[in-house]
Symmetry: C2
Subunit: 171 residues, 2 copies
């Protein structure tokens, strides 16, 4: 599929089949994240691929009880390195949330291309997730996504119009 078609058809999937993900498909999806650009090419990220059932269930409890994330064969936990990133974005912020987001969205788009579903999960207790996966103190958890074959086909949720979000030469 072309990029825009993938973007148009991707949905946040909250119901998954148990079918496992073939290794070659998984590697392609991970490769899309690996190749992401980042501030000064520092790549301040690490991704934990959680397949263990007990760990997935514990992540559910650290994520406001969103049971669907454990239905998928994999939960991807996206982590960033505040101490190893470009530290002056706009002169006010560290780049790691931007860098990690780009990489995770690459993974999510390639997942859709390969027939897999995902869902950006932002409702989680960071400290609990870190404790479950032994994430070091200095590392941040940005987001989680389940990764698996969709068992639903949700409708498009709508977006603001072009006029509302783009302007020309002045804000």
């Amino acid at each position: 599929m072309k990029v825009l078609e993938v973007i148009q058809k991707r949905r946040s999937i909250r119901k998954y089949k148990e079918d496992p993900i073939p290794e070659d498909v998984l590697q392609r999806v991970l490769e899309a994240a690996r190749l992401a650009p980042s501030g000064k090419n520092l790549q301040p990220w690490k991704f934990v691929i959680v397949r263990d059932k007990e760990l997935k269930n514990r992540l559910v409890h650290a994520s406001a009880g969103q049971f669907f994330i454990a239905e998928a064969p994999i939960i991807v936990v996206a982590c960033g390195f505040p101490d190893e990133c470009y530290s002056k974005m706009g002169r006010y912020m560290k780049s790691w949330p931007v860098d990690v987001t780009i990489a995770l969205e690459h993974l999510i788009l390639q997942a859709h291309e390969d027939g897999l579903g995902t869902c950006w999960v932002g409702s989680f207790e960071e400290e609990a997730v870190k404790s479950i996966l032994n994430v070091p103190e200095s590392v941040k958890v940005l987001a989680l996504t389940p990764l698996g074959y969709p068992d639903e086909d949700p409708p498009f949720r709508g977006r603001k119009s072009l006029d509302e979000i783009f302007s020309y030469d002045k804000y």
Copy 2:
């Protein structure tokens, strides 16, 4: 192109032709940003499409003198709304940097598919950019990118290995 191919071939472009961008191409690239997912679908973003030469030159001076950004026919300035986003990502951050990043990366991937170059620019003085474009006090500027036809073909800069950035079940 397929998503992974676009991701593999995209480069940060720092030299642009003056050729204008056809309106239908521009609209496709903007559509890719418009369709991005965001926390609670709040879409806390606005993008300023800067085509005016004087404004572009002023943005150069607000961006550490990176002259190449004004070579391109357009500079896209990506803004976020801290007051209108999901405010509890991981229980510690507002979602707008994540939301705006996803939308801008969509734009960047579709731009590459359409033969256009871009470059994530994070080295800018936010207050100066806001002043040049009349961005309201409550709105943040996340990043800029030039948008135009590439006049260079930079080599791949390399990335960390899969082993270095992915782990299984534990960090």
